[in-house]
Symmetry: C2
Subunit: 193 residues, 2 copies
């Protein structure tokens, strides 16, 4: 029992560092950048609130679990802003190594369970993962919109880029949410054109 | 549909402010105080990892939901440190008013569901709520320990106070976790005695 708790607390202590991983998007009042721990909390709340937007095959309890742990790899691999050009294969390799180390702190069967959930999220194929990805993609739009532009300004983003980089993925899992959010954010890009 | 999403996003936008509510405990590297949004994420991860410490009547999916939303009232009512003397009835009244306003942003049936979960957590009687409270109480000890004392120093806390204010509640829901964590943190109080 003590060995098991020692391993579990080694993991719980280590993931505290996610609070220090900064994302490209600001918090709503634009006072600072959002960190990946509070982002993970916020999108878990998105899943609870928007559960009725999920398809009939989606199990919200599994979506919650995926969203809570999906960014933990960033402790080692960092957050890669969606609008920043980068080597996707290199970033994927970093994240795989991070998953090995971080989930590997847990007792073996828990490490395997968490890793399987993360792999499923990354693959973005199962109904649960597709819905979870929709929420992870759409929340930064609301953060940028609330804070006056955020990473849209930093990376000189266009509405076409939003449609291709974000919209296509949000639509797959939550089409009504996409229609709603796109209508809200589109005027920002008209103004800045 | 649009009215419903308008209400849901009014709530999801508003709860962003939980990222600005600071707690008495620091993050692990002691660089700053923890906010209530990232704390909520961390204890949700505690629930996932320590699920096997819960009694047989505990449903972890409900525990996760409670932990994710339990601090939202702090947006209006603020965080009240456990070791700070305060008027409990006054704080409870503030939190009730906060719950009315904040959950009231949601569509009516969701507002009622979230409010019922929060009331259940606050009552600390159901097996789910007792386990959830254990995790909410025990995490600050690990944060204070990791960061060199944190709010134990600020509020001049003794091990007896830890036992009475924290231990009694953690033991109710997660007795093995309490034994493990108490053994880890006790030496801090020997040193500072």
């Amino acid at each position: 029992m003590t060995d098991r708790l020692t391993a579990q607390f080694a993991f719980l202590d280590e993931i505290d560092r996610l609070k220090g991983v900064l994302r490209a998007t600001p918090i709503g009042d634009n006072s600072r950048r959002e960190n990946s721990a509070e982002h993970s909390w916020h999108i878990a709340m998105y899943a609870l609130v928007l559960a009725d937007q999920a398809g009939p095959d989606v199990r919200i309890d599994r979506v919650l679990q995926m969203l809570l742990l999906h960014d933990i790899v960033e402790i080692d691999a960092g957050d890669m802003p969606i609008h920043l050009a980068h080597d996707a294969a290199e970033q994927a390799a970093k994240e795989e190594a991070a998953a090995d180390r971080l989930f590997g702190l847990l007792p073996a069967e828990q490490a395997a369970m968490f890793r399987a959930l993360w792999d499923e999220f990354e693959a973005a194929e199962s109904p649960d993962a597709v819905f979870a990805k929709s929420l992870d993609r759409v929340q930064p739009l609301l953060q940028n919109h609330a804070s006056g532009g955020g990473s849209w300004i930093d990376y000189d983003v266009t509405l076409d880029q939003i449609d291709s980089r974000v919209g296509a993925k949000v639509k797959r899992g939550a089409p009504n949410v996409w229609d709603f959010v796109r209508a809200r954010v589109a005027p920002f890009f008209d103004r800045s054109a």
